[in-house]
Symmetry: none
Subunit: 246 residues, 2 copies
DNA sequence: CAGTGGTCTAGACCACCAC
DNA sequence: TGGTGGTCTAGACCACTGG
């Protein structure tokens, strides 16, 4: 790649934008115009820094950011390449139930059905916590309502060591998810979304006919990869829809 | 801030991790432990680089990345501070079915059940296209399979003016969504996700017992706000789960 | 004013890759 | 083996902030 692809970049003495920004925009323009196509190799950091008479670190910053933004990909020892154009992938947000109702300004109430030390913690640890230790667990069953309409039934296990005061909570202002999130700033989480047909007790709890489906959300909370809570949440599908963002 | 907050970082000669990573983790740990709280000021880049006897650029990279990740915020001329803990809102991606199977390296086949000019376009325009004009529409019914297992049933209406060659497509390599996306670079889209219990014809098509729920996705494709396609897609819930990307 | 972060330089060493 | 990107250094100048 000996072609001078960057020579028409504005002079180094134009300080309206930082140099790495100018490089980024120049590259994006080439890609947008189709001048550089997917999987095509870009000039190396050394070539560009030599051509523009700037430091390699500056070129590196431009390349690194464009890579993080998904426009390029890099291979150690090989080079930097134009990435495949990406598609708009729609996604659905899932907010904690209390947060969601609060945002919409709806009243929120919770009915604690059970809140106790778990009996069969050994089995639960093995099944849901990926742990062979018999760790001590709390168990809760909560029904969250919008005004008087059930919106979510949740059963949850929590490590007692993580949330020692869990049993004293009323979950009046915040749902269990939000409560646990406040306990640690470094909580991470995984969710799985399924669709199910509720069994009879569940449909009675949620006050829906058993001809109606439910969303089932499995929520796993982790700290540095260790599971500290496992929950299953059920939403009546008639009262809950996901709308895509983007 | 004269306290030596970083002195217990592993020696510079430990090359198991890049230095900026070690700094990042050290900072995250302090935040996690509550040692540094929200809005608290961190030592400056200069202080840390002096204390650890490393370059300021290395500290800068750690700070910059933690800021991009939302853990810190910075103010020019003032300093670097711990950010408010943020809530992780999980979201679920919905990829076009052919793209999803391609990524997972699965075989993909499609069975076109119907592909024709729509009969009752006037009603359809009014109901789904927010249009009182009687615009000409194509109609398709397609069953997408992974190997021989049905994965998605889709019915779709498309403006004939947008996709004049729609009837000649076989949808062997790309599903209808991807085909339509290739026709215009400025397509936007809206999706709605519901859970339903399938009726008998649908459960037969998808080859599932009628005790099993389905995801129903409504996909609306638009160009500059004008709807050009309306589709309903049904996924058997037993064969399809959404996993959150945080 | 002194200190801060934002940017940039002109080198350097390394692991990795293609040849 | 020579080129690539990943990382790091020891300086530097600037605009901006706070006291």
């Amino acid at each position: 790649m000996t072609v001078k692809s960057f020579s028409n970049i504005l002079s180094t003495h134009d300080h309206s934008l930082p140099m790495y920004q100018k490089i980024k925009e120049h590259i994006l323009e080439k890609i947008a115009k189709g001048e550089w196509r997917a999987n095509q190799k870009l000039p190396s950091e050394n070539e560009i820094s030599a051509e523009l008479n700037i430091s390699r670190m500056t070129v590196n910053r431009a390349f690194k950011e464009l890579t993080e933004e998904g426009y390029l990909f890099r291979e150690k020892g090989a080079g930097t390449f134009v990435a495949e154009p990406f598609q708009l992938i729609p996604f659905f947000e899932l907010m904690p139930i209390s947060k969601e109702l609060a945002i919409e300004g709806n009243p929120f109430s919770s009915q604690v059905l059970r809140l106790e030390k778990a009996q069969d913690s050994h089995k639960i640890c093995e099944r849901y916590f990926e742990s062979r230790d018999n760790e001590s667990l709390f168990f809760s069953e909560i029904l969250y309502k919008n005004e008087k309409t059930p919106l979510q039934y949740e059963k949850r296990y929590v490590l007692t060591t993580f949330a020692p005061h869990y049993l004293t909570q009323a979950f009046h202002k915040a749902c269990s998810t939000v409560y646990l999130q406040t306990l640690s700033p470094i909580l991470s989480q995984k969710h799985t979304l399924e669709a199910i047909i509720p069994n009879k007790p569940l449909s009675q709890l949620l006050e829906i006919p058993n001809t109606e489906a439910c969303f089932k959300v499995v929520e796993i909370l982790l700290i540095r990869g260790k599971i500290i809570s496992y929950a299953e949440q059920f939403y009546p599908a008639s009262r809950y829809k996901f709308h895509s963002k983007i």
